[in-house]
Symmetry: C2
Subunit: 462 residues, 2 copies
């Protein structure tokens, strides 16, 4: 890495090298995990560049290639797994200023990667459209960061996840393959080369995403005497093909105390189902919930306007915002990510909830998964030691509930714990020097790694 | 039944009693079935009334109640099961003139029952919206007839069927419970009282239906060397939660010769998959089909405009239009309706296809069913005798594939072969004299009927 030569090559480009600002731009929400917090605390880049156009981006990338400077791409830095943290230092490529919405069509939008999800929707809503999927950090996350580092979220109850065919139409990426980097358009099966790759295989310079119809979604809170009741009702709602929902979450009685601003709509000792429904579907949700033994405690379209304005949206009680709300009250809390496979979702949920009790408050997100109803868990964990966390993970896996470990910063360990041959092969071509987000793709560093123990990038201490 | 008194009570109302016209208005597409053709050939009403408003409709209904005249409601008469045929004579209530679209909102439409589906969409499309579901008789069927006599069709690949919560928002119905009939709004679980009831429990005077976004759907034909290849690929497409499809059908090599106007896009001896995809989803469909061994033989958005204009839409090759196209070529053909349950849909399809060969050409429609991928069969049958037809049905049921028998004119025999207690209880209240579409609800005539043999209404001969 030759930083002086890089600076000289980039003479006309605004670079940030104030260490405090560089460190700030080298961090994401990795502190959700006590493990990552310990491991990544001292990670920082040397420089930050924030291009405003694809041309400028290519110029910077080419100079970094020439001077062997690692490049870690950053959207808004709202990822939880250290995705955007530059383990090998070098340059952070901050795409926040490449934030234009370029074209809106019937059913799709073309945008620059740094565009904030909520800002995109503000523009598409004029045509009655909005993005299909977003994380709970909708108001701050960028579309490029979501595609590169996310997997689904709000909207997955209808559309499945980002990995599912059709949920990304096209990605335009810059490779890091020379002084004049290639630019490649990916679509169809090729999207897997760059989506959810943490920017290790290329830099997204443009995205084309499908749009869904925009509605004035109604937030609904339904209280249930038991977690089983809430989970069973949610599974029924999730399986109702004609019921237009945008999000569907369940939490148990240990979680609801963290929903402080929603306290008037929460019942002590009860589980809570949180639904975003299309206006014309809200009364069907209410009927079904009532028949399942639930009590509707809040319906946003029936609140006084001044009350409603003070409340966060229901999706900001779900996904990783559930964890965030708990963390704000109790910094010792962390979380896991699990899958409760069909059939008998509720049985698996209850078995694990009973086993761990207050140590692991239950949080479920219902989605469409491979053409059927799926149920993800994002349980809170009252953290004690890394050993106990590993034990909780093992118990889940022994019960047939896979864990997608949010306490790992590599692609493989947070995911399928195996080499993604498509991404690895593509990285060989698009990033021959291995300069893009080093340390995040285990297979690049060690193709025969066995995943029995956590992977540790050489710059980090155990 | 006192027809003279009725005529005198309805002095101010235009009534049709020309026997030829009355007979024409007493028929639907019952002739799809050789069994129903024989049984219902001589069915006719005595009179036809075609009200233009709810007030006039209530006035007619009240007079019929007073004079004990049976009333059979008719939309466009495109049902296949004799739904709209007046087994006990009396009055046919033709709702074709109650066809106004009354209100279009974001996500829903309110219409009179006689409004033609395509006409509704012509009005909603200005706001980028269209009906979620329609039969293949989209250009001629009425919304009231569809709700009263249909179950799903085009759009079910995304939204499931009409019975699924959310696919009907509200039905306004007139009961036949006095000289001044009650009018009742049904929503939520109460919709089951009047939807798919063949007008036996009330007369629909207004419908409120959800709308989906309207796209310039792309018709795609994909040829596969084998039926198994086509069915397997279709199941993959059906399970892709992010892939926005409107219809998804498969037919085998015995069916494609009936698609005469599509002959240039059909390969002899091959199976055919027919897809309606959103424009931005079409290339994903093409990719997935190619990887599954299919050859894209037609894509409507790549045809010359003058060629495209001569072709029927892809959905007019599917659902009951498949049967219709075969019938036009070979009047001896009829059909069945089956369900191939999960798992191993393709295995069940192939087993039955191989068992019957040319006698029963395979036709599949993929849908969402109870929150997962479902596969209905509408196989063609080269009809010989009623005994053989019954045998074919029995063989399906022995293989675990239920048959919804389209050769029966009663609600129960075409459906679940059991009393619908909700509809029966509601009919007792809404139609105490049993004047609404007599003979169609077995449970009304004989609550303990055992369904071992076909039900025969007293006016009909065996």
């Amino acid at each position: 890495m030759n930083l002086d030569a890089l600076k000289s090559d980039l003479a006309g480009v605004a670079l940030e090298d104030n260490p405090r600002i560089v460190q700030q731009k080298s961090r994401d929400f990795y502190w959700y995990s006590p493990v990552l917090k310990r491991q990544l605390e001292n990670v920082t880049a040397d420089l930050v560049a924030a291009p405003t156009s694809e041309d400028e981006l290519l110029f910077i990338l080419g100079a970094c290639f020439r001077n062997n400077v690692p490049v870690t791409v950053r959207g808004s830095g709202t990822g939880n797994y250290g995705q955007a943290m530059p383990l090998a230092g070098g340059l952070v490529l901050d795409l926040a200023r490449m934030n234009k919405v370029k074209h809106i069509g019937q059913g799709y939008v073309v945008a620059e990667p740094g565009a904030i999800l909520a800002d995109i929707d503000n523009e598409t809503r004029a045509s009655g459209q909005e993005l299909r999927l977003s994380p709970s950090t909708y108001h701050t996350a960028s579309i490029g960061g979501f595609v590169a580092g996310g997997s689904g979220g709000v909207g997955s109850i209808r559309w499945g996840g980002l990995r599912d065919t059709g949920n990304i139409i096209r990605l335009r990426i810059a490779a890091m393959d020379g002084s004049a980097p290639s630019v490649i358009d990916l679509s169809g099966a090729d999207l897997a080369k760059a989506s959810h790759a943490y920017g290790t295989t290329g830099v997204i310079t443009e995205v084309e995403m499908p749009l869904a119809p925009a509605y004035d979604w109604v937030d609904m809170l339904v209280s249930f005497p038991t977690l089983r009741g809430a989970a069973t009702c949610a599974e029924q709602l999730a399986g109702a093909d004609g019921l237009l929902l945008k999000n569907l979450s369940v939490v148990d009685m240990w979680v609801t105390p963290y929903f402080r601003r929603h306290a008037p709509y929460v019942r002590d000792g009860e589980a809570l189902m949180m639904v975003m429904a299309a206006p014309f579907a809200a009364s069907d949700v209410a009927h079904m919930a009532r028949r399942a033994g639930g009590t509707l405690t809040m319906r946003s379209d029936q609140l006084a306007e001044d009350v409603r304005r003070t409340l966060p949206a229901a999706f900001e009680l779900g996904w990783n915002h559930t964890t965030l709300r708990a963390l704000r009250v109790d910094p010792a809390i962390t979380y896991l990510q699990s899958l409760y496979p069909q059939p008998s979702i509720a049985d698996k949920v209850i078995k694990l909830a009973e086993r761990f009790g207050e140590e692991m408050p239950t949080h479920l997100e219902f989605v469409r998964f491979d053409g059927a109803v799926g149920c993800f868990g994002l349980p809170l964990v009252r953290y004690t030691t890394e050993e106990r966390l590993e034990e909780i993970i093992r118990i889940h896996e022994d019960e047939g509930c896979p864990i997608f470990n949010p306490h790992r910063y590599t692609l493989e360990e947070g995911g399928m714990k195996q080499t993604d041959e498509v991404q690895l092969a593509f990285k060989r071509r698009a990033d021959p020097k291995g300069l893009l987000n080093p340390g995040k793709m285990v297979a690049w560093d060690n193709p025969s790694y066995d995943y029995g123990k956590p992977y540790l990038f050489p710059t980090l201490s155990a």
